[in-house]
Point group: C2
Chain length 450, copies 2
């Protein structure tokens, strides 16, 4: 038969079984963590009408989007979870109750040039709180607090959430007379960490006609050790600025109240998060030991979630984890806890008699106790079956031979310790369950000690 070479597209993550279990374990923790904060799960189509997804249009989005025709319909794959959320909320606004808190963990698609760490299909894990006309500032502090708790639950501790407020930046540009160049200035200061103060100043002054004095003021402020103190002299000159500083102070105060330790967040006035969407607090999150990865969790406050679809004002605040990329970084850096069970089953049962009833009964008893059991009834040698269990890291094997059956017992072998004993089925179930529970400690991420 003519064959096609099997392959998976470049930029599309496809994991081997043990890795998949590790990935799913992270997703489970995210789901549980988000749910504990009162977010409801949402699922929207991966395919939408292209005109709906591209309502905002323009820029990189349009170039990267997977867009295609089916019959007369112009379709596209979603490139984020925010636009589908905007559509959902606009479409169902009369059926939803506000504030509307939803999480969504799902795949999005971007036809970027494939390169290391860039995916064309990847999971985003988003939470958003959407208000109806208004939304209290406290949400802008709760969202990063949830992220703090979520990362901690995953086992990630060495990270820092960086905060800014777009009103501070925009107000500052007004004070410095840079409103006309605001976009260019923002894009330039975004490069501060990469290219340094001197080069940023040169670009600001030479390319964007920023007065040298204004550039100096701005750069001094952006690199201040205590940004809140450095902002103080500018107060009282611009209403938007003052409001932004007040909001930043409030968010910082509440973040502490929400239990985020002081060393896990900082104000960073260089953070802008794009030009035209966020209007208040913005966030980025960096891994302390891997700043080169960039932000692993970003978001912020916006005033109009769905202005392209509805006149209803829907302010909100949200944050997104790029989960596929984060997972690939964790994997590459050896952060995945390899001690946790990744086997497809907890017990491999080897029936050694024609009559399978005792083996099936034992499997049923295990499953009723929540223990994952697999019967191995293939025509293979005993040793091959044990090799199978070892290859898959199945923690226990159970043998049911004539002797065991006659005595109403089952022989359980702990494949980690090599210990083996004949027990009554209910004792065997308890042993396996308790041993597994004792070993199932630790979080999916384990940071190197250092």
């Amino acid at each position: 038969m003519a064959q096609i070479k099997p392959r998976t597209l470049s930029g599309f993550m496809e994991l081997l079984p043990a890795r998949q279990v590790q990935f799913d374990r992270m997703v489970d923790i995210l789901r549980k963590s988000y749910a504990l904060y009162g977010f409801t799960p949402l699922d929207t189509p991966a395919v939408e009408a292209a005109e709906v997804l591209l309502a905002k249009g323009g820029g990189e989005t349009e170039k990267q989007i997977y867009r295609f025709q089916k019959g007369d319909t112009d379709l596209a794959l979603r490139f984020d979870l925010t636009v589908p959320l905007a559509k959902y909320v606009a479409l169902h606004q009369n059926e939803l109750t506000f504030p509307f808190r939803r999480f969504q963990i799902a795949k999005v698609y971007r036809g970027e040039r494939a390169q290391k760490g860039r995916y064309r299909e990847f999971y985003q894990a988003d939470i958003d709180v959407i208000g109806d006309g208004a939304l209290d500032i406290i949400n802008e502090a709760e969202i990063p607090a949830i992220i703090y708790k979520t990362f901690t639950a995953l086992g990630l501790h060495r990270f820092k959430i960086r905060l800014n407020n777009r009103k501070v930046l925009n107000g500052l540009f007004a004070v410095l007379g840079l409103e006309a160049q605001a976009g260019d200035v923002m894009r330039t200061i975004d490069k501060l960490e990469k290219i340094g103060s001197d080069k940023v100043k040169a670009i600001l002054v030479d390319d964007f006609a920023v007065p040298a004095e204004a550039a100096d003021s701005l750069l001094a402020l952006l690199s201040a050790d205590d940004p809140m103190a450095a902002l103080a002299p500018f107060r009282g000159k611009n209403e938007l600025f003052d409001q932004g500083v007040a909001e930043l102070e409030t968010v910082v105060k509440y973040l502490s109240a929400f239990g985020v330790p002081a060393d896990h967040f900082m104000v960073d006035l260089t953070i802008a998060r794009g030009l035209d969407y966020y209007t208040g607090t913005v966030y980025e999150t960096v891994m302390l030991d891997h700043p080169e990865v960039g932000s692993i969790c970003s978001g912020g406050r916006y005033d109009n979630l769905a202005e392209y679809y509805t006149d209803k004002q829907l302010p909100g605040v949200g944050i997104s984890i790029g989960l596929t990329r984060l997972f690939s970084v964790l994997e590459a850096q050896g952060y995945l806890n390899e001690q946790l069970n990744t086997a497809p089953a907890d017990v491999l049962i080897l029936p050694m008699t024609e009559d399978l009833s005792p083996a099936i009964s034992f499997a049923t008893a295990l499953r009723e106790a929540g223990v994952r059991a697999q019967l191995h009834c293939e025509q293979k040698k005993f040793k091959q079956k044990l090799t199978y269990a070892n290859k898959l890291s199945i923690p226990f094997a159970a043998f049911l031979g004539e002797d065991e059956i006659q005595q109403g017992k089952v022989t359980v072998k702990d494949l980690t310790t090599g210990q083996q004993q004949a027990l009554a089925p209910e004792e065997a179930v308890a042993l396996v369950r308790d041993t597994l529970a004792a070993r199932a400690v630790g979080s999916p991420i384990q940071e190197p000690q250092g």
Copy 2:
């Protein structure tokens, strides 16, 4: 601003929050049930190279597939989970351990004409066991046993699994001299339930040159009350037939051993499940009270999972639940258990003081006990906040006013009973947790009593 009308494409299911929770609850039970039987979760890309997905090619598939170009690449959305599994196993055959047992619950895409109960994006929930060269017949009995347990766990009881064996059918056609017309005969007898014996006979005889006597034999057999008994006279005439009958007997015997009650399965010789893929046992599952829905769970045994990609022989057996369609049927027929909690949170906390610390502490205590808590800090009247809780069916509200805080208490109101009491925070947590646990009984599906 120029606006685009928000819409969701026809044939793409998008649920409101409470329904989504009900859907997710079913998915959770499926995942847990499949995992208990030693299946490992798998996730493959929704987009694949078109030539890979269409390796088999031809027929309805090619017409329905969403296929598109991106750059130079010819892409397509997967239309089932079996072809991606075949690709995965062929591609990773040296890294997998066989028998390979995987489950996958994911969306697939078919650009069918949209009509009631037909979806263009829908979830399939598949399990498959793939052997390396050989696979024991016992798997053909275990798979429907898993389906029995899974449906039962969901709360669905009034269903029947129908079994057949392709070797029986193919052997029978050989005995009756109908090998040349096998495909046509199979398609015709598939209509038996719809159009009746007389019309089927007419088509067989008139259109496909089946001798009247052979047609009578066949029809008598297919409508026999006891199919196994009716098969007996044909034994000893054809090897394939005899093998099929023996397999069917074995599967029936093991099904009982696996605990599937006799009234939940039956041999049905009319079931064929397509022409060119299945080679042994085949399954369909019908809802007793809604036969018009057709099969809600189908599958069977195949000899060559991945013959389009590899020479390696990979026999397997699998079954698939069309989850989106099943859910829409359950919803339409009133089978969803509306008593189970669908709220985004278990407790809505209403802080009534400037200082939020006591409210945040209480929220933290609830979450640590696994109780989902939401702080409601919007600038709204007390009554509006209670209305919010009621609209979302949040089961408890907690008030923290000056009095409560001074006394170190929290007032908890059970919004189901209207009962309200001031309790120490740890007592309040216990009350909420225990009450929720007591109410969280019952399965997601509740069949009408009848």
